[in-house]
Amino acid sequence: MLQCWRALTLFLLVSAASVFAASSLSFENSAIVRTVDLGGSLVHVTTTFAAKALEPKASAYTITLPEDEIQRTSWLEVKIKGQQQPLTVKYGGAPADGKFYNLDVQLPNPVEVDSTVNIVLETIQTHATYPWPERAAQQDEQSLKYNTTLFVLSPYKTNVQRTKVKSPSPEVRSYTTPKDVDAFTLESPVTKSGATITYGPYNNLPVSATNEWVTKNQQLIGIHYKYDYPVLELTQVKRVAEISHWGANLNIQDDIVLYNAGPELKGHFSRLEHQTQSFYKRAAAHVIPALSLHLPAGIHDVYYYDLVGNVSTSRLRAAPSVPKNSRSNQYSVMELRPRYPLLGGWNYTFTLGWDSPLADSASYDASTGKYIVQVPIMTDVPGSVVNECEVKIILPEGATDVEHVLPFPAVSTEESTHITYLDTLGRPVITFKYKNLTTKHAKPIYVSYKVPSSAHLRKPVAVATALLGLFVFGMFARRVDLTLHKKTA
């Protein structure tokens, strides 16, 4: 229960442990459509509930998710179809200690009786697919398997529901055919057309969020599909952002452990086979020779090294600096080519860092004397998941009134002191830790702080004191007589 709770706090906007008794009379689902977009490390699940209100002034809708689905979900958002503003979601407790959890959604306007509102639940699941076969030779293809439950649970009655599973390529190796669903459909329970497999339509489901209904009717379905892109996991990312007021510079350094989560290599790695593949451009999907990253615009002095030393097989195409207010989508492209291609199950650890002008990320409020700086949480590697992320923000020496605003809650926050060049007091540091981050989590953290001018002058004064010490030593030293005197016998 506690483990689930930690997974929930990552993405819930407001988490209150109050238990609302979900009234099964307030809504009826006229249709539920769940679309599963299969990927490599990430699976995008969109569920649309067409809910008809049965009670007047119904303002809260309850969504029930099974326990294993919640544990795999790392990003969740609920919206009314067609609107941009996400709705407030509260954790509604676990009904009758079943293996599912309720999420209560606050609707912006109360719904009138017999009118329908379309609620869209968008989630991203991580670590939901696994390679099958688990081991593959260098030239073999890469296939993944994904398992999920057949029926979408709901604490209300459902008229019709269907699940559409979209595979990235039309080559689906196999998919399960559900059994014993005659109570809900008389036609074929599953159909495949192109790259889409449709489970449904299933009609007239009663209140399904109960243990007895689940044990009687719920089944697992699995899809085994070919996947032609690399399955990347960033096992650990440690980001350090250092702010300098004297140099007007923001330095960001990432220590990244890259892991290829595709099928493990069976047999030896043959360099000859690898060269043949790249010559004839027949690269297998689970061999990753290079990586392309989108870094912010306006960066300079990029460094990329690993344990052995500097890695020269890299190229930066920098975009010119953009002011912080601009909405332009400019980015610099950094092409990294590690020392060896990453085969399935292999790791690669490296450090990547850059400097960028502080004016692109920081602003100054003259009325309160506060500086606000925005630090991005992660560099988005498309289609990959970051298992563990740590973001350390090092503020200038003597920063006071430090406040931070996070786009989503962190697993832990810590404050400490960091000492580096020319420091006397040490610099305040805030460390945030996150788990299971995806593309939707690539947002900035805002930190505000004040630096009085006396703190700003601390560094030159410290160096001046050291130099003065040298001069004073010099003054004493020249008055000491070290010449050898002849001893008169």
Partner: protein
């Protein structure tokens, strides 16, 4: 969430950060200040040892040289890429 949107909007509306001294000038400031420090230190080494207990010339020269050297070293650190 409203908190986040509020600070995001505030950050966008405020003027960007401006350092006390223009960063482009820092290499030249570093060179000038360190050259002056070197000259003053050299002059300090040539001063005669004063007979009275208070060294009337050595102390002010040392003070000026230290202050100039302090700012010069900070500017030099920023010039070479160690943004302190």
């Amino acid at each position: 969430m409203a908190d986040y949107e509020a600070i995001k909007a505030l950050h966008h509306s405020l003027p960007p950060f401006q350092p006390v001294v223009n960063v482009g000038l820092l290499p030249y400031i570093a060179f000038l200040l360190l050259a002056l420090t070197f000259v003053l230190a050299f002059y300090f080494s040539t001063l005669p040892k004063s007979t009275s207990t208070i060294p009337t010339k050595e102390v002010p020269v040392a003070l000026v040289a230290s202050v100039l050297g302090g700012f010069g070293v900070v500017a030099m650190f920023c010039t070479v890429g160690v943004y302190v």
